[in-house]
Amino acid sequence: MSKNASSSLLVDKYFYTHQFPTMWCPGCGNGTVAMATVRGIDRLGLDIDKVIHVAGIGCSSVAHWYTTFTALQSAHGRALPSATGIKLANPELTVVVTMGDGDCIAIGGNHLIHACRRNIDLTAVVYNNFNYGMTGGQVGPTTPLESLTSTTLYGNIEPPVDICKVAEAAGATYVARGAIYYIKELIDLIEKGVRHKGFSLIEVMTPCPTVFGKRNALGSAAHMWKAQKEFTIPVKKARDLTPDQLKGKWPRGVLVDKDLPEFTEEYAKLMARAQKGRAGK
């Protein structure tokens, strides 16, 4: 479809409308991330039979209930290793993985590190809402210090983790951060991620007004969306700021973009070597 296909055309092509309304709360950012993901994929003009969606478990991991992509809903935290099996078994497929922050870096944290390290050509879209939405708003690995959640009633004392920094350190070759308030930029970031050969991770800041917002008195859903203007800044601007000035602000945009050997391509070479060695004997 064209670069900016109308929403109704996209909905007809990519969504099972008979499954609407979605399970997301009013004001939840997840639907916007799902739509941005569909738009990013649509722009690439891929054969949609060959696009596979793999999801973990959580409020974020339900877009596939509504989209027409062939999909696997795996277990909580296990989306990446299943996606790895899909991609390695059939490298022709484009594999897009959606996870919540808890799914990705708490229970699935070990798998994340190793998917990054292998640089296997998957695109992970991580919905970061700073808490465990589906189970009623518990603390998660990205919950800010002092925040209130249903399991940190006296304030969170565990410092949060930066998913993008972990991905970069572990070897991901495309790392980006987007926010739903900046929807056009988000679509671009996802499109680039899917296009990138190698492991891509796009962290998306998305508000959970129902549990995290309410408990921490962050205001209405609209207010939470707009607040992304305050606590995110473009990567380029961030570069000119001192660490002190950067406190409490999340850089938005492409954080890492490099070209390194991709796992399934290296595997193809390994297979050729194994078969040559054999014929030579």
Binding site: F69, Q73, P81, G85, L88, N90, L93, I113, H114
Partner: protein
């Protein structure tokens, strides 16, 4: 293929890996653990040679998850582990049953619980292999007693998993996995195994979770015009969520269980000897079956009417076969290298027949035929 219809000295784990190659397995994901390592080692060498994929994952959860992903794309996939690793498999074993993915999982049993004894054999994962994951489901579990059977039953596991769209478990043990014996290898091109039934209707008429007469749905490869959704939540025939619909979830759970339990006559396989006139039948599986058969032969030499029954498929349980024995014999003895596990379904099936069921369950060293013979004598004096 180099092993064309010849007899070769092989280790059990090697025979298992070769059986997988012969059966068309083209994807293996694993994580190192004794005493199963040789299976992964052979697969790492062999799969790239035959155009297959091998990956060592970051843990056992990841490796079964990867095998599931590969199987969804159409590959015959396998994973091998032991004890602590088998426990980690339980999450994705249940998932594979739920989304109905054919694959083969090998467990070369070692002594537990926990880390236990890495290099010593046990048969204490028999119940875990059937009931280890949460919720109701059914798997197929095979038990090899020789190196030849490590090859043959791996082939059969692949075949059954594909026919019933279910994970099949080869429940081996350290003795059989590490033993060396002569194996007769068929020409691999002569090894025939099933491949999952694919949809034969246009995509818009495809119901990914509508079972056929046997309860097995057709399966489309990921990446084809058949868009579908392998759903780990309770789902309807079209794979959409049914997480608050008891009618739909009940039908699903019944089908998942019954496609195995109700077709058990196609799956179950037992070997019996001297059963016609046997008073005392020794029922044994895996490495213990070797000593059990020896004990029965020695008992016969001594004039005792002993018989031997060996299930090659542990689950689904060979109910009719055990009932037939309990209808005639006076006693059934179940020796097993655990504190008494398989004896329980045997007792349940034998109930109503004539035979009393005796457990000879203990962890520790491999059974000797003398130990089992002694139990036969003991039982003879009380029945």
């Amino acid at each position: 293929m180099e092993h064309k219809g010849k007899v070769t000295l092989m280790q059990g784990n090697e025979a298992c890996a070769e059986g997988a190659i012969a059966a068309g397995v083209r994807f293996f994901a694993g994580y190192p653990i004794t005493p199963s390592n040789e299976i992964a080692n052979v697969m790492a060498r062999r799969l790239p040679q035959v155009g297959g994929k091998f990956i060592q994952m970051e843990d056992e959860i990841g490796s079964l998850a990867a095998a599931i992903g590969a199987a969804l794309t159409g590959a015959k996939a396998m994973d091998a582990t032991s004890g602590p690793g088998f426990s980690l498999k339980m999450e994705n074993l249940g998932l594979a049953c739920m989304i109905e993915v054919p694959l083969v999982l090998i467990n070369v049993q070692r002594v537990g619980p926990s880390i236990g004894m890495a290099t010593s054999p046990a048969q204490a994962d028999v119940m875990q292999s059937r009931y280890g994951s949460h919720g109701d489901y059914a798997t197929i579990v095979l038990s090899p007693s020789s190196v030849q059977e490590m090859f043959d039953l791996t082939v059969r596991a692949v075949d059954l998993s594909e026919r019933f769209r279910v994970p099949a478990i080869l429940l081996a043990d350290q003795v059989i996995g590490h033993m060396r014996q002569n194996v007769r290898l068929p020409a691999y091109e002569d090894v025939k195994t099933a491949y999952r039934r694919e949809p034969d209707v246009p995509p818009e008429q495809f119901h990914p979770y509508r079972g056929d007469a046997k309860g097995v749905p057709p399966m489309a490869k990921f990446g084809t015009p058949y868009h579908w959704y392998a759903n780990s939540s309770a789902h309807n025939e079209d794979s959409f969520q049914a997480t608050s619909d008891f009618v739909v979830s009940k039908a699903l759970i019944e089908r998942l269980t019954n496609k195995i339990e109700k077709n058990r006559q196609e799956i179950v396989e037992v070997r019996g000897e001297f059963l016609d006139d046997a008073d005392i039948v020794v029922l044994a599986y895996g490495c213990t079956a070797i000593a059990a058969r020896g004990a029965v032969l020695r008992a016969r030499e001594g004039g005792i009417k002993a018989g031997y029954l060996r299930p090659l498929v542990l689950w689904p349980f060979p109910e009719a076969e055990v009932k037939a024995v309990s209808g005639k014999a006076k006693a059934i003895i179940v020796p097993e290298m655990n504190m008494g596990q398989y004896v329980h379904p045997v007792r349940e099936a034998a109930c109503g027949g004539k035979a009393e069921v005796f457990s000879l369950g203990r962890p520790g060293e491999v059974f000797s035929s003398s130990e089992i013979l002694q139990k036969i004598m003991e039982v003879k004096s009380v029945v």
